[in-house]
Symmetry: C2
């Protein structure tokens, strides 16, 4: 048996999907060519960045979810985007935001379990420039990516 599952998840997580124009045409009672035109326009304008699958992460080896608050050392203050971009590269990280207040960055992280998360914090998050880390562990997700769970 091939292990296609993992490859599929990898591909569908960030793209490789497309809108169902014919279905939308029926729902909205509009000609599909009109919808096609308007969707392409949204894409051209950069309003639509892509199409992707939404997963129940518990079922694809991402049972642990946490929000991570970070403060940066004064030398990173001027350019928090450098570190933020570095974090963004990791597939375990769902979102990266530079924020106001007592913390500079907030990350949303998905790992298999708490052990995995601890390893991830040690290897990826704890780096020069990060002076303080606070983890808010998700006990229950009610909504994610605008989808109610």
């Amino acid at each position: 048996m091939k292990d296609i599952r993992q490859k599929l998840v990898e591909q569908l997580r960030t793209g490789n999907c497309t809108p169902r124009i014919a279905l939308l045409a029926r729902k909205l009672k509009e000609p599909s060519t009109t919808l096609h035109y308007n969707i392409k326009k949204l894409e051209r304008e950069g309003a639509i960045l892509g199409y992707k699958a939404v997963f129940d992460h518990r079922k694809i080896g991402g049972g642990f979810t946490a929000f991570v608050l970070l403060t940066l050392s004064p030398d990173e203050y001027g350019d928090p985007e450098r570190l933020a971009n570095e974090f963004a590269k990791h597939p375990q990280i769902e979102s990266v935001d530079i924020i106001t207040g007592d913390w500079e960055l907030i990350l949303k992280v998905r790992t298999k379990d708490q052990d995995d998360y601890f390893e991830f914090v040690k290897k990826v998050i704890s780096k020069k420039g990060v002076t303080k880390i606070k983890t808010l562990t998700s006990l229950r997700q009610m909504k994610s990516e605008f989808v109610e769970l």
Copy 2:
């Protein structure tokens, strides 16, 4: 001119998309029927919850993003899910998590601007059961929904 744009955004925000099997078949060098079978299986198992568009929220009237930390009154302590589910219904709310630590809930909220956000806090978030609200305003998003921006 019809205003289809808003209706499309509404529909594509949470679903009405589908995987591009033929494209994946070329990428992964597997027969499209095999991929079709495996994708349907992921759907049946509930691992895939749906397919949706990813937006640049700044271009569809959601220029303001914030993470909202909430503490609940002792009487809501026992059943934070009730309030969480209520929040989840609002389209401005991207995610709702029940968390550990000093706060009980974290929301990710998208509104047009800060004024809109203030209205939203007053009308929706400030309700009986919520005793403390802390807003972390996003100044810059580097990644969202696993998509680098």
